[in-house]
């Protein structure tokens, strides 16, 4: 990890025009709903918005046109998602399909899978969830036990996933299963793309501490899945999942998902801040600016086909810390009642409650630091 330099963020085409077009589109198409949905907005589920966004060409942008995509450069997509997040647009419905399931199907999927799933993803109509965690496989993901046995008719799946965000609203789950009987740890795992309306699947809500129904437990009871549901190579599930997690960690959502709070703080402060508020705004801005540089550099490296596992983890670690710190520091300085109904108070309350999850989802803080330590040559 020595000799760090920023990887040049150099998207093709007219990026200023891309931003301007999207901002104009958002001005007339972003729903003016509750301000709280603008915070943590990649969890805000709005299928109507996703469909409109897909029709406007902003989902599945990097997919080839023959699968309904737009053949755009990954860094053009990066610019689009940072704009959407900065605006607090409700991108939750299509988020996972656009960010990781689509690209993974393109990379490892069969032609049949590509034709079947990618056009719906690009239209903003087909949503996906991530089936990794199980009751006894959290940080220790290699402990997954959900099994898939190959039979003449297809795969027979038995087991349970948990904490599956959006399973109740999604069409498919990319599921990590153990396909080789008696295999252990990260050997013998495969990925299946399972349609969630298949018989034998039960999805039960888990209400989170904010009172929201975002994640679920999902039970598989002798579920029969076609042979064609296997994604990529049998037994290579671990390798594929690791690649998928790389896509997940360094995006702008790791520092921009609470941007609505910073906007509200600045607006509530006005143009002539007292010294304490000016200091807070200055410090938050410096951190955000720095994170943006790191995130863009990592995206550029990914786009160039490199594997910036460690850099991606640095973005997640610092981004999570920033987003957890921000509401706490705002609360420490702004006089605001817990139950006040102004924008700033509502955002503050929502983010104070949501932020403990930031350093859990997508790899816990300790796991992420472990990856960085490995990159430093300590493990």
């Amino acid at each position: 990890m020595q000799g760090f330099a920023l990887y040049p963020f150099d998207p093709p085409g007219d990026i200023a025009a891309l931003r301007a077009d999207l901002r104009a589109w958002l001005a007339s198409n972003q729903p003016q709903d509750d301000v709280v949905s603008r915070a943590n907005c990649w969890a805000s589920f709005d299928p109507d918005f996703s469909r409109a966004l897909g029709a406007a060409g902003y989902i599945g942008m990097t997919l080839p046109a023959r699968y309904g995509g737009r053949d755009r450069h990954p860094l053009e997509r990066y610019v689009v998602i940072e704009e959407l997040l900065a605006a607090g647009a409700p991108v939750g419905a299509h988020w996972i399909a656009d960010r990781q399931t689509g690209p993974l199907i393109l990379r490892y999927g069969s032609e049949e899978q590509r034709q079947r799933y990618l056009p719906g993803i690009a239209k903003g109509e087909l949503y996906a969830c991530i089936g990794l965690s199980e009751p006894s496989a959290g940080s220790d993901l290699a402990a997954v036990r959900t099994s898939a046995r190959e039979t003449a008719e297809g795969w027979r799946v038995n087991g349970q996933k948990i904490w599956t965000t959006g399973a109740h609203l999604s069409h498919v789950m990319l599921t990590l299963v153990r396909t080789e009987e008696g295999s252990e740890r990260n050997a013998g795992l495969s990925q299946l793309l399972i349609d969630l309306d298949t018989a034998g699947i039960t999805i039960r809500p888990i209400i989170d501490m904010a009172g929201n129904h975002d994640f679920n437990e999902v039970f598989f009871d002798d579920v029969l899945v076609p042979h064609g549901a296997l994604v990529g190579e049998r037994g290579q599930g671990w390798k594929q999942v690791t690649a998928e997690l790389g896509l997940e960690r360094s995006g702008p959502e790791r520092y921009l998902s609470s941007h609505a709070l910073l906007v509200a703080l600045i607006d509530a402060t006005g143009p002539d801040p007292d010294p304490a508020l000016a200091t807070l705004i200055g410090e938050l801005t410096a951190e955000m600016w720095t994170l943006r540089q790191l995130s863009m550099s990592t995206a550029a490296k990914l786009a160039a086909g490199e594997d910036p596992m460690v850099e991606a983890s640095v973005v997640k670690e610092l981004g999570n810390a920033f987003e957890q710190d921000m509401p706490r520091r705002v609360q420490a300085i702004v006089t605001s009642g817990w139950d006040d109904e102004n924008d700033l108070a509502k955002l503050l309350r929502a983010l104070l409650i949501a932020s403990p999850s930031f350093s859990l989802r997508g790899g816990t803080r300790e796991v992420i630091r472990g990856i960085i330590a490995r990159g430093l040559g300590l493990r």
């Binding site: 990890m1 020595q2 760090f4 330099a5 920023l6 963020f9 998207p11 990026i15 931003r19 610019v79 900065a86 941007h259 910073l262 906007v263 509200a264 703080l265 600045i266 607006d267 402060t269 006005g270 143009p271 002539d272 801040p273 010294p275 508020l277 000016a278 200091t279 807070l280 705004i281 200055g282 410090e283 801005t285 410096a286 951190e287 600016w289 720095t290 994170l291 943006r292 540089q293 790191l294 863009m296 550099s297 850099e311 640095v314 670690e317 610092l318 300790e366 992420i368 630091r369 472990g370 960085i372 330590a373 990159g375 430093l376 040559g377 300590l378 493990r379």
Partner: protein, 233 residues
């Protein structure tokens, strides 16, 4: 990095090594004062990316010599200090990693203990952040033809971010070194003490935070994002 910059860095390493005992004279004689002077004026014709690379080396090898002042004027000293700090922090990290990989306690290298690994991961994040800030500031300065006032936002953000990293970086570096790092003989203090000094030089945290905060408050909530994206990428 370009081949020209690689060569420049090789020269800097050699000249600074000599300057450790000889003082600033060899740095002057090698022409580092001409780094930013255009080629038409018989200078080196370098950009801030070059300055950033050279000062990162200076921050490690000759932290007490006025190399930054030799290369650039007063208006650039906050930016120059960010580069010195990035270099010193990178060195503090390198020294720490080397130390925990060699020093054994309880029958194994310190680096095999998870508590030590997690501390160094935290430190590495801070170091990467400051290196990124220094590099992004260089891009901005070069994009605006070295007009420091047009890079005021980036100078403030980068110096503030570097300042804020000092506490974490110096404390973890010293913690994982144990007593040896607290000695005159061992070279860790050759980067950590300058880091402590640079935090307060050319604007401490309060100075830059207040300045940046006022600038952002004047932009308004949405104006911040618009300004940030208009200024780069």
């Amino acid at each position: 990095m370009s081949a020209a910059r690689d060569m420049l860095c090789d020269t800097a390493r050699a000249v600074f090594a000599e300057a450790v005992t000889a003082g600033i004279a060899p740095v002057e004689e090698a022409g580092f004062g001409l780094l930013l002077v255009p080629e038409e004026e018989n200078g080196f014709g370098g950009d801030w990316g070059d300055v950033n690379a050279v000062l990162q080396i200076a921050g490690v090898v000759v932290p007490d010599l006025p190399v930054a002042e030799l290369i650039a004027g007063e208006a650039y000293q906050p930016a120059a200090t960010v580069s010195l700090m990035a270099g010193a922090m990178g060195q503090a990290l390198t020294l720490s990693i080397d130390h925990v990989n060699t020093r054994q306690q309880f029958g194994r290298p310190l680096g095999k203990f998870q508590a030590v690994q997690q501390s160094l991961a935290v430190m590495a994040c801070e170091v990467r952040a400051v290196e990124a800030a220094a590099a992004a500031l260089a891009l901005r300065l070069d994009a605006v033809g070295l007009d420091a006032s047009a890079a005021d936002f980036e100078i403030a953000a980068a110096k503030l971010r570097a300042n804020r990293a000092v506490g974490v970086v110096t404390s973890i570096a010293h913690q994982v070194h144990g007593a040896i790092g607290f000695t005159e003989e061992y070279h860790l203090h050759r980067v950590t003490v300058p880091l402590m000094r640079w935090r307060g030089a050319h604007g401490n945290d309060a100075f830059w935070a207040a300045r940046l905060g006022r600038q952002v408050a004047a932009l308004g909530g949405h104006g911040l994002w618009e300004a940030m994206t208009a200024r780069g990428a």
